[in-house]
Symmetry: C2
Subunit: 459 residues, 2 copies
Amino acid sequence: MKLFLSFSVLFFFATLTKAQPSLNISYISDSTQIKNLADEVMIRSTAYKNLRTLCKEIGPRLSGSSNALRAVYAGKKMLEAAGADTVYLQPCIVPHWVRGAKEEGYILINGTKEKIKLTSLGNSEGTNGKLINADVVEIKKMEDISRVNVKGKVVLINIEMNPTYIKTFRAYGESGVGRRAGPSLAAEYGAVAVMVRSLASNEDDHPHTGATVYNDSFPKIPAVAISTQMANKISSVLQSGKTVKAMIKSNCKMIGTANSFNVIGEIRGAKFPAQIITVGGHLDSWDLAEGAHDDGTGVVQSIEIIRSIKAQGIKPLRTIRAVLFMNEENGGGGSKAYLQNAKQKKEQHIFALESDAGGFTPRGFNLDMSLEKEQKVKEWAPLFYQYGVYDFKEKGSGSDVGPLKEIGTSLAGLQTDSQRYFDLHHAETDVFEAVSKRELDLGAMNMAALIWLVSEYGL
Amino acid sequence: MKLFLSFSVLFFFATLTKAQPSLNISYISDSTQIKNLADEVMIRSTAYKNLRTLCKEIGPRLSGSSNALRAVYAGKKMLEAAGADTVYLQPCIVPHWVRGAKEEGYILINGTKEKIKLTSLGNSEGTNGKLINADVVEIKKMEDISRVNVKGKVVLINIEMNPTYIKTFRAYGESGVGRRAGPSLAAEYGAVAVMVRSLASNEDDHPHTGATVYNDSFPKIPAVAISTQMANKISSVLQSGKTVKAMIKSNCKMIGTANSFNVIGEIRGAKFPAQIITVGGHLDSWDLAEGAHDDGTGVVQSIEIIRSIKAQGIKPLRTIRAVLFMNEENGGGGSKAYLQNAKQKKEQHIFALESDAGGFTPRGFNLDMSLEKEQKVKEWAPLFYQYGVYDFKEKGSGSDVGPLKEIGTSLAGLQTDSQRYFDLHHAETDVFEAVSKRELDLGAMNMAALIWLVSEYGL
C-alpha cells in the first residue's frame, strides 16, 4: 500500500518533470486563460438561471412526455442565447413509459393497516389498477432469493447502501443490483411483486425511483421502491417474528416508443473543425421531482461551456459541441442516436466529457482513455488545483458519452463531491433549491477549463 | 508559478521518501487503525443525533442566554454518553448582549414606504426603540467613507463578497472589514447609523448578523445588516440618482457580562497523560437560527472523536480533550478562560484542532505550527487521501484554539468544502436541515484520524 502510493507520487513527479519543457512555455499563458474563463463563469454564469427555468418553468422531464419536449425547445433556446454557432435537434427514439394514476400502498401489521409511500420503478409494469395483497418476505442479499420461499409473496429487497464507502457511487453501484435485476429474479422464483429499499444513503420517508430491467424469460411483476425508513420498519417487524402483509396498487406501463431529440450546440473549430469535442448532460429526468441534480445541472453546465468560451472571445482550434442528451434514465435512446450519427457521418470524436454526478463541488475528472492520453490529461492537473480539482485517478465517464468508446473516443466524467447526491437522487427532493449556485458554477468552470485545454492541444 | 509548483511536488516527494523508513513500518497498521475508526464513525456516529438535540431541542445559543446554559448541560451529558473518562465545566465570563424586541426597518423611495428585513449586528447598540430616519448614502469601499458626506446619514456599506475567490473564507475575511470596523468609522465621520450588506455569497432576502467592534473614541451608532438582495436594490435606486431614506428601530444593547462555561471531556493518556491534545468547536451561536453549521457541527464532531476512540477500545498514549468552547461569536470568553487555565496549571498543550468552518465535506487541515512539525503532519497525508482529505497546504486554525499559540501549541483547523457556508452563516437559514449526515460524519472521521495519529506519535 505504502509502496504503491510512493510509486504514484514518483510517477506523478516524473511525469511533471518530463512535461516541463512544453509546460514551462505554456503554463503561464494557459493558467491565465483558465483564470479568465474561471472569472467569466464565477461572475457571469447563466447556469443557475437556466437551471431555474428547467426546474421551475418546465419541471419533471420524463422521456416521451410533453415536458421532455418542452425541455428540448428550452434547451435549444438556451444554447442559442449562449452564442453557439449552430444549434440543432438530433432525432432519437425513446421508450415511452408512463406512471399513470398515483400508486397506493398499505402494510398490515397485527391487523392494523398503515398507508405507505411507494413509487413504481421506471420501465416496470404496474398492477393494472388492481390491489395486490400478499405476505412480505425480506431478503438482504440477492442470493437469498433462492433460499427463502418467495412464491406468491411480495419480496422486500432490503439492501442498504454501504455507509463505509467514502465514494457514494461505489455503494450505489453495488446495492443497485436489487433494483435493476431484483424484480425478474423474484419473478423467476414465483414472487407476485417486489418492493425495493430505495437506493438512498440517508434515512427518511421519500421513496426513490429508477429504472429496472426485466428479463423477458419471466413474468413482468410489479416493482416499487419504498423509503429507507419504511424498509427498516418492515424489516424490524419481520425480524420480531410477526407477519407483514403488503397491498400495492399501481398503473404504470410501457406504452411503446416516442420520437424525441438530443439538442446540440456547436462552436466550430478554427483550425481543426473535423475534430469534435463533446460535453454533455442529460435533459430527461424522472417524473417525481424537477431533475435538478439529475441532471439539470449537467445540462446547464454544458451550455455554460459554450457561453463562457464565446463570452471570452476564445476561438477554439477544435470543434466544441454541447449535447443535451435525451433518455439517459430509462433507455439511452439519445446516446444511441448520437453514436449512430457519428458513425454514419464518419465524424472524428476525439474527446467527450459528461457531467451526470450532480451539480456539487467538483473534485476531479474520471478518465476512460488510453494510458498515453491519460498521462497527457494528468499533466494538466496542476492547472486545476487552485480551483479545487485534484483527483484524476478514478476510471470512468458517464452513460451518455460511454457508447462513443466504440469509435475510439477518449472519455471523461466530472467527479463531484457526491456525499449528498443519494439523499435526493431519483426522489421528490431533487429540486432546484437543493442546488448551490457556487457549487454548480465551480463544476462548469472546471469543465470549461478542461474542454478548452483539449480544444487547444488535442489529445 | 510552474517552477514553484514543481518544487512543491519535489519537496512533497522528498518528504515522503525521507519519511519512508518509519512510514513503511507503521503505514499498514496506521492505515488499518484509521479504517477501523472510519467505519466506527460512518456506521455508528452519534454526531447527527446530537446535532438534532442541539438544534431542535435547544435552538439558538447566544452567549449569556438561558439557552446557552442549557447547551452547556446538554453538551456535558453528550460527552458523558460518549464515554469520556472525565467531564467537567470550566467557568468563563462572557459579554451579555441582547437583541431585545425585533428590529423594524423601512425604506422610502419616491414617497413609497417599504418594509425591509434587517438584523442588528452582534455587540452593537440599538436605537433604544426610537425610529432613526435619515437619507442613505452608499459606499462600496471602506476608503470612500472619507470621500462622501456621511454626516447625519445612514451609511450603506455595500461590499460584495468576491465571487472569483474559490475559497470562500478569503472573500469573507476581505469583505468582513465593513461589518467589523464600518460602524465606528462611519461614526467618526458623523453618520447616524450603518446598514451593512450581509456577508453572504448568494443573493437572497435573509440578513446575516455577526459581531461588530466599536472603537471607544467614537459614538456607538446603531448598526444593522440587510440582505444582499436589498443592498442591491437600494444601490441601484441610488445609482439612478434618486434618494432613499431609511427608517430603523432596534432595541439591542450590551447589558454587562454573564457567567458561563466551557464543557470539557477527556480521555486520559495511557503513557503521557501530561501531554494534552485539544479538539473543539463552539457551543454558542447567534440568535437568529439554530447554529447548525456554526458551530453545532464542530461541537458534535469533537464529541464524536471521544466516542469513536472509546468505542474502538483505543487507549491513546496522550490525553485527548474535547472542548466545547463558549462565546466564540462575540467575545472569546471561553477561549480566554481555556488559555488562562492552561497557563495557571502549567499544562503542556502539544496540539489543538478546531472545527469551525461548517459541517461540510472535509478537504484538508489548515496548519499553524513550526515548519518541522508541519512536515511531520504532512507525512501523514497519504493516510487521509482515501477519505477525501488531501489539502495540508493552507495556514490557519480557528479562533478558539488560536490563543494557545501563546504557550507554543501546534494548531490546526478542519478545512471544509465551504461553497455553501456563506449562504447560511449567521442567518436564519443555519438550521439542522442544512446539514448532511454523511458530510458531518466524514469531517468527524478525518478529525478522529488526525487526533489519533497525534495521540500515538506526538508532534
